[in-house]
Every structure is written in structure tokens, then in C-alpha cells.
Amino acid sequence: MSIWEYANPKKFMQTSAWLLPWAVGLTVLCLGIGLIWGFFFTPDDYKQGATVKIIYIHVPAAMMAINVWVMMLVTSLIWIVRRHHVSALAAKAAAPIGLTFTLIALVTGAFWGQPMWGTWWAWDPRLTSFLVLCLFYLGYIALWQAVENPDTAADLTGVLCVVGSVFAMLSRYAVNFWNQGLHQGASLSMDAKENVSDVFWLPLLICIAGFVLLFIALVLMRTRTEIRTRRAQALMARERLA
């Protein structure tokens, strides 16, 4: 029994079919509790007023936007090194989710920035790197769609993902260098001084768990879709040969 067993599409389909309802249920539970708690039952911040409620979607979406890319990098590397199809398809399935999270982070950030900074958008390092991340997601998805042969597409997007990761890191440091930001520091860090206060902490944590679960549920479902499509394509190719 090793983790590579799940690289077998059939095994993956079985396991994910069992796992998916749990993931969906837990997602609904966590997001429900977290968002309702956050929206209805937390006090306003003394400085930011009611806008602090945006944190329950802004921070988890932003965290996941980055983590999804990391997951895509890992699965792409697994595909490049070990040639497991499920891995490549999981990366493909994850990209639109990552793009959506990036957009959510950008949009909620704009709505938050408007009353707090007096502007929808500022060329702040964090905002700018998210815009760049958004472009990376778009390019990645576009490349998947443009290449017809699925194995070629998986290889090319895999290489793009690895190279893109390096340049995404570079961009992150480049924009930091280029402009000092308006954006506050990390909301969640080990350094308690920087942290958000306790009232907001717990519902935020639940919301983050909810977003992680939402991603897991969606990525399982979308990977299953991709596997089905691949199987249909393979069968159709066999039909044409016969």
C-alpha cells in the first residue's frame, strides 16, 4: 500500500467517489458555521468598522489562491517525473478553482480598499503580485485549452507551471522592491503581535478550513470529470482505429 496506488485512475475514481460526499458535507458545514458566525456574531473592529467582516472571505481566498498554485506545481512535478496521468489532470482541474479564488481575493480586496484606503486599487506589492498570479492562471488555462493532444498539453503546461513558479516568486520580490505597500502585514502569523485579535480569529480559522475543504471537494469532482473525459477520448480513438 503506497500513495502511488491512487495514481491509478480506477483506484482514484473509487476512492474519490467515497470521499466526495464527505468533502462536500464538511465544506458546507465549515463555510456555513464560519461565515454565519463571522457575518452575524462578530463585533465591528474599532478602526475598520463593519468592513472587517470581509476578512472571512478575503483572507481564506487569498491563501488558497497561492496554495492552489503550489498544489499545481507539486502535481505537475509528479507528472513530469513519474508520468501519472491523474496527477496532470488534477493540476488541470485545479487551475480554474485557483483563478476563481484569485478573483475573489482581488474583488473583495477592492471593495475593502475603497472605504479603508479611499481607492479601489493601489499598485501595492500584494495587490500587484495577485494581479500577476491571475495572469499566470489565465495563461496556464489558455495553454491547456489550446493544445489538442492531451499528453502534449500536460507536458507543456507542466513545464510552464514549473517555470512560472520561479518567475512568480521573482515577481513577488520584484514588486516588493518596486513599491512599499498600503496593505497590512500578515493576518495570521506565529508572531502574536501581528495577529488579528481573538474575536475574529476562530471564525476566520473555520472559514479557512471551509475554503480548503471547498477546494478539495471541487478538485476531486473536477478531476473525476477530467478522467471521464480522457476515458471517453481514449475509447473514441479506439473506435476510429477499429
Binding site: F40, G49, T51, I57, F111, T225, T229, E239
Partner: protein
């Protein structure tokens, strides 16, 4: 029941609204793609089954 959002009502509600819209779009897209893939696979498998047997 509804908390008093004060002058920030628009910012908060718009953020939640936009998030719901975006996530709903993503989920709808995923379900639509799933249905399409399932239909396609069922079709092809039915055909393959016929020619095999």
C-alpha cells in the same frame, strides 16, 4: 437579526455578493462539465459495449 453594518454596508454586502456569484459560477461550470463528461462517456461506453459483444 441583520447586523448593523453602518456606512460600510455596501462594501461588505458587495464583497459577499461577488464571492457568492463567483463561487456559484465555478460550481455551476464544474457541474455542467461533469454532466457533459458523464453523458459523453456513457454514450461511448454503450457503443463500445455493443461492438465488443
Amino acid at each position: 437579526m441583520m447586523p448593523d453594518l453602518g456606512k460600510y454596508a455596501f462594501a461588505v454586502l458587495a464583497s459577499y455578493g461577488a464571492t457568492v456569484v463567483l463561487l456559484a459560477a465555478l460550481v455551476a461550470l464544474s457541474f455542467w462539465q461533469r454532466a457533459r463528461a458523464k453523458r459523453l462517456l456513457d454514450e461511448v461506453e454503450a457503443r463500445a459495449g455493443k461492438t465488443d459483444g
